[in-house]
């Protein structure tokens, strides 16, 4: 039998990998966005698993919304990356430091 625990463990692993990805690929904005997608995916896993095991469809509704927002986020994030690249010819996070100077 596949238990709830299995799914939660899997989502935990995905979440941890997403976090580690933020640390590893700290310079590449596109990869950072991908890591965020991983984090969201982990969260979605939890929702769906709980929806299944509690037999409550609302969990899936939330996933639906999260997907919506994630899509919007990804599109705007990528648009920003494009503008950024256009202005700076780089997507290196190290170069985005006008807040510091």
């Amino acid at each position: 039998m596949i238990t709830l625990f299995d799914f939660l463990a899997l989502s935990g692993a995905l979440f941890a990998i997403g976090l580690a990805g933020v640390f590893l690929n700290r310079k590449n904005v596109i990869l950072l966005l991908m890591c965020v997608e991983l984090l969201l995916l982990a969260a979605n896993f939890n929702f769906i698993a709980f929806a299944r095991f509690l037999n409550d469809i609302s969990g899936q509704v939330f996933v639906f919304f999260i997907l919506t927002v994630a899509a919007a986020e990804a599109s705007i994030g990528l648009a920003i990356v494009v503008v950024l690249f256009r202005n700076r010819s780089s997507i290196n996070v190290d170069d985005i430091d006008s807040l510091k100077h």
């Binding site: 596949i2 590893l24 596109i30 299944r52 095991f53």
Partner: protein, 205 residues
């Protein structure tokens, strides 16, 4: 039994490709790994009887969002070598943090009473349609949030367009509406009132 085998395979595939996302040398590879993760996840969601969302994940995420990612990655001429510099510097920290978070999550999941029965999902009635149930809930209970989600997407579209819109100087346009609106009285013709006889010459110019 088959389900368990499928689960193990898909879970391994998910975790493995997720690891691939964060460790891939090239951004394109990372994106492709992410596609793999999503596809495997969609399979897992099918196991959880979330057929509609599994399909949405594949169609919208893999089909649209990830393509967009690949588009951008390929469109921008990024120097992936410089981006990977100093990768190891924070890697131990990342691993430690990831382990800690994983341990914490595991602790929560394992030790705390979550209020649900582990391992025994309730059986579903015959003829149950996941899509129909989801649709009934979304269009009744969550109708208003659903509309807001639509607005969020609209805003996302508008914002993305506005951000990337570029006005190039020196491009000649035709402004049709301006051309149509033009009239003789406004702007084209000016009637100047001139004195009919010349002024006496001023002493000091």
């Amino acid at each position: 039994m088959i389900q368990q085998i499928v689960f193990i395979v898909l879970a391994a595939l998910t975790v493995g490709s997720a690891l691939g996302v964060i460790t891939a040398r090239h951004t394109v590879h990372a994106a492709l790994f992410l596609v793999m993760t999503f596809v495997a996840s969609a399979g897992l969601w099918l196991l959880l009887h979330a057929e509609f969302l599994a399909l949405v994940l594949v169609l919208v995420y893999v089909g649209a969002v990830m393509v967009l990612f690949l588009f951008i990655v390929m469109m921008l001429d990024t120097d992936s070598q410089s981006l990977r510099q100093g990768l190891v510097r924070y890697a131990p920290l990342g691993v430690v943090v990831a382990l800690i978070v994983f341990a914490e999550i595991g602790y929560v999941v394992y030790n705390r009473e979550l209020g649900v029965s582990f391992g025994t999902p309730l059986p579903q009635a015959a003829g149950f349609s996941n899509t129909r149930a989801l649709g009934e809930t979304i269009y009744t209970v969550y109708a208003f949030p659903f509309e807001i989600a639509a607005v969020v997407l609209l805003v996302g579209i508008v914002a993305a367009i506005m951000l990337t819109l570029r006005r190039r100087p020196g491009v000649r346009h035709q402004n049709i509406s301006k051309q149509v609106r033009v009239s003789a009285k406004r702007g084209r013709l000016r009637i100047v009132n001139m004195p009919s006889e010349p002024r006496p010459p001023e002493k000091n110019p």
